[in-house]
Amino acid sequence: MDTASYRLEWRELALWRGDRCLQQSLTGRLEAGQALTVRGPNGCGKTTLLRTLCGLSQPETGEILWQGVAVHRNRPDFYAHLAYAGHTNGLKGDLSTRENLRFAAILRGRHTNQNELLHGLRLTACADLPTRNLSAGQKRRAALARVLGSGAQLWVLDEPFTNLDAAGIEWLGKRFNHHLSLGGLLMIAAHQASQVEPDRETILELPGGDT
């Protein structure tokens, strides 16, 4: 990871779905070495916010800046530093975990040591099964392995702890802190504790959810 310090900013975002306004006037920033945890009741717009910041959805109003440059002006540069894992796992069910990871790594032009990562995530024994056959937690682990091995500075994770067992959650927390200590940026949406050291963490509590 290079040592330049990165920063993501967003200003006056308004998030709409259909004819409902989920959130308004969201402004914030995330700097190197910091984590932002988005919390809030179900349906308040966490996923929508994360997807919007990644450029998968268009905000109704407002702008998003990576290194001070509007994201949609410079997708290639932004995406070169971004790794995202959403509610869906982004794995091809017909390929094994190893193959899925190798594909993701080469696409990023990296050659990480897969084995260490697979071992840490306790996926070694099932790394050669088609991911379709994995258990829910194993699928989630494989999706996380893609992000952890991406070498990206900014990790955006939507409920990363879903389906993980206690040991997995703890291990993941350690990796988060390690990533932050190297100057990475982390943004997660979660209903559980984020496992990040408190002094590195900012919590964004989104209001809303329905009656």
Binding site: L56, T88, N89, K92, L95, F103, I106
Partner: protein, 222 residues
């Protein structure tokens, strides 16, 4: 950019080869569709001869449609499409790779096999080169135009369904020219005219379709 392109291509091919039966299947499908015609229409050789080129083209279009159905839907549902959209390489390029893989896996085997089917329709052996050429020139257009429709329907908004409906008729010209050219070939006439036209459509589709597909994918993901 090229390497990303090749990589996507390779992954798609790996997914296809994963179960070798998947690769053989479009072929089987094509053969089966072609055998249906003689069964339904009867054994009159002259008649079979006549419908042969058309039937082979219909079979090719159907095989394409069937496989396009899931070209992006799977990727959409398992989230890999999202991942491609978040990559630093241009999306249109990677989607083009996917489409080319689709062509290699679904269409190319059909083209290769079509000579055998010429026999099933009792067509003269001289008809083979012409038929193969028209298929080679025309099927890329089917895959490319199809990919736009597949991208639009992946997320299935109502409006995109409508667009897909509009796209389907776009493949009709390909089908018509293709069948016409194959027919000319079977009766030993020159096929240069329709062949250039088919090639032209394919080239046009190659330059425009990837951008439309990429735009459609981004719309589907939003």
């Amino acid at each position: 950019m090229i390497s990303a392109f090749l990589l996507v291509l390779r992954r798609e091919l790996t997914v296809a080869v994963r179960r070798w039966s998947d690769l053989v299947m479009p072929l089987m499908f094509f053969i089966i569709v072609c055998t249906l015609f003689p069964l339904a229409v009867g054994q009159d050789i002259e008649m079979l001869n006549n419908i042969g080129p058309g039937a082979i083209w219909v079979a090719a279009l159907l095989a394409t449609l069937l496989s396009l159905n899931s070209l992006f839907r799977d990727d959409f549902e398992d989230g890999t499409l999202e991942q491609l959209a978040l990559d630093k390489e241009p999306l249109s390029f990677m989607l083009l790779a996917k489409t080319i893989a689709h062509w290699l896996v679904t269409e190319l085997p059909l083209v290769v096999l079509s000579p055998v089917l010429v026999l099933a329709f009792g067509m003269p052996v001289d008809a083979i080169p012409g038929l193969v050429l028209t298929l080679l020139a025309g099927t890329p257009a089917l895959s490319l135009i199809g990919s736009v429709g597949a991208a639009l329907t992946a997320g299935l908004r109502q409006a995109s369904g409508l667009l897909a409906l509009l796209l389907l008729p776009l493949t009709v010209p390909v089908l018509i020219f293709g069948a016409r050219a194959a027919d000319l070939a079977a009766s030993g006439q020159s096929i240069a005219g329709p062949l250039y036209l088919l090639g032209g459509i394919s080239v046009l589709a190659l330059t425009l379709a990837p951008f439309a597909t990429a735009a459609a994918v981004r719309v589907s993901l939003d």
